[in-house]
Subunit: 301 residues, 2 copies
Amino acid sequence: MSVLVVGTVAFDTIETPSGSDKTLGGSAMYASAAASFFAPAQLIGVVGDDFEAQHLRFFERLGVGLQGLERRPGKTFHWAGRYSADFSNRETLATDLNVLADYSPKLPDKLRDAEILMLANIHPQQQIEALSQARMPRLVALDTMNLWIDTCRDDLQRALKQVDLLILNDEEARQLAQTPQLVKAGEALLKMGPRRVVVKKGEHGVLCFSEEGSFGFPAYPVADVVDPTGAGDCFAGAMLGCLASERALDESAYRRAMVYGTVLGSFVVEGLGPEKLRSLTRKEIETRRKELLQFAAAPNF
Amino acid sequence: MSVLVVGTVAFDTIETPSGSDKTLGGSAMYASAAASFFAPAQLIGVVGDDFEAQHLRFFERLGVGLQGLERRPGKTFHWAGRYSADFSNRETLATDLNVLADYSPKLPDKLRDAEILMLANIHPQQQIEALSQARMPRLVALDTMNLWIDTCRDDLQRALKQVDLLILNDEEARQLAQTPQLVKAGEALLKMGPRRVVVKKGEHGVLCFSEEGSFGFPAYPVADVVDPTGAGDCFAGAMLGCLASERALDESAYRRAMVYGTVLGSFVVEGLGPEKLRSLTRKEIETRRKELLQFAAAPNF
C-alpha cells in the first residue's frame, strides 16, 4: 500500500541556541519524506515559484511522488520559529501563508484510491476537502496544531469524526480535550471520533490510546539535539509508512509503527530541518531500532 | 537484605486543584514505606513531640523498623505546597524545619551493618553524617532536591563521590549537571561519582544512565491523579527494596527494580499523601506490574 500525505510544504527559518538558518520545512514535507523509507509516498501540497529544482530534488531522491504538488505564482509558505535552550518551548516568529492562503487541495484522479491517507498539519478545512476526494481509504490519520484548536475547533471536530487515527502532541491533546491530565485527555479524544489517539511527547516518548488498550514507549535518548522541527511530522509519516507495509492493522502493527516513528523522529532532530533524511539509510534505521528496543527492554520477572 | 532509609519525616499541608489537607509526609516516610513491600525496611529520622501514636502506627503496620527514629521536644518538620492544575508544577508555601533544624542522624549500632543504604532527600551534610556511620554498605543510593543543589552544591558533590546510585528528578538533573539536555545531563552526572543515575520524570516515566547502557521506561498511565507528593520517594524506596531482594545487582535487577518503583509511584499518586500505601497489597502490586508491562510491551519485529 502507498501513503498519500496532504499538508504544508514550506521554507522555515529556525533559531536554535546554536544559530539561525533557513531550510525546507512543512508538515507534508517531513511526513512524506519519513514515510518514503517504508512505503511508496505521495505528497499533496502547494509551493510558490520560489520553489526551485534543488528543492524538488529532495523529494525525487527519496522517491516521494509529486503528482499532487501544485506550483503557483507567488511565494512558498514561510514559517519562522525560535527554540528555548532545552528545546522544550518554541515561539513562532512569523507565519507567512503566501500561496497557502487560498489553497484548496486537489487529489489527482490516480491518487484518489490511496489506501492510507495522512492529513498532516494544515487548516482543518483543507483536511476535510482532501478527505472528501479520497474514494475508500483503509486508514485516515490526522495531525493538527494549537492554532487550529484555538481558531477553528468546529472544523477540526468535524474532521475528527471522519478519521481513524488522531496524532498530536501532549500540549495539543490537553488543549483539544480541555483537561490538564493526559490520560483523561486521551479518553476524551477517543470520544471525538478516532479509534486511536497517539500523543507525541517529544523527548518523553509516545502514549497511545485505543479500545485495544494503551501503549507507552520512551523516546530514543538523543545526545545532541540540533533542531526538533519536524520530529512529530516524521514520527507520524514513518508511522503511516510502516502501517502501509503491514498486512493486518492490529495492535502489534501499530506498536511496530510507533517504534519506527520514534526512530525517524530521533534521526531528524540530529540535523537542521530535514538534513538528516537526505542521507539516511534503511540500515541505519534498523540499527537504531534495535538500540531503541534494547534501551526500552522490560526485564523478565 | 534489608534497606536502611535516612531522610525526613514530616507533616505536609498539600493544596491540589481539589482542595487542601494535612497528611503525613517526608522523604524517609515515603521511601521506607514503599521499600517495606519488598524487603525489611528501617527508618532513620527525627520527629517532634506532636508525632502521635496513630502516626507511629502507620509505620508499624507496614513493618517499618523505627529503632532509628528519634523523638525530640518541639514540632515535627512541616512542609506546605501547592500544585498547578496539571500537577506539572508545585510551589512551596512553607518549610518549617522545627526539630529537623539541628538534627544529626544517628545509626543505632545494630543498623550500621545495613547492606543497602538509602540517603533520601535531606540536607547533604546530614546524608554524609549518616553514610559515615554505615560500616560496609553494599549499595548506597542518594536522592536530593533543587534547594540543596542551589544552596550546598559542594556538600552534595562530596556526597556524590561516595554513592553508587543517584536518584533525582529531571529538573534537578538538569540543574545539577548545568545543562538543559537530559541525556547530556545524565552523562555529566555519572562523572560526578555514582555508577548509575536514575532520572525520575513523573508522568513521563524514568531514564537510567550507567556504563551498562541506558534504560527508558514509561510511567503507568494513572487516570486520576489526586496528589503527586511522594511519588519520587516511593519510586526510590520501592527500587531499593527490590534491589535488596535480588541476588545479583546487574542490569536486569536494576530494570526490575525500576519497574516496581514505577508501580509504587503510580499507586501513591492516587490518594492524598501516603493514604494508598495503608491498604496496598502485594497482590495489587503484582497485578499492576503486569498491566504496566503490557502497556509498555515492545512489539516483535
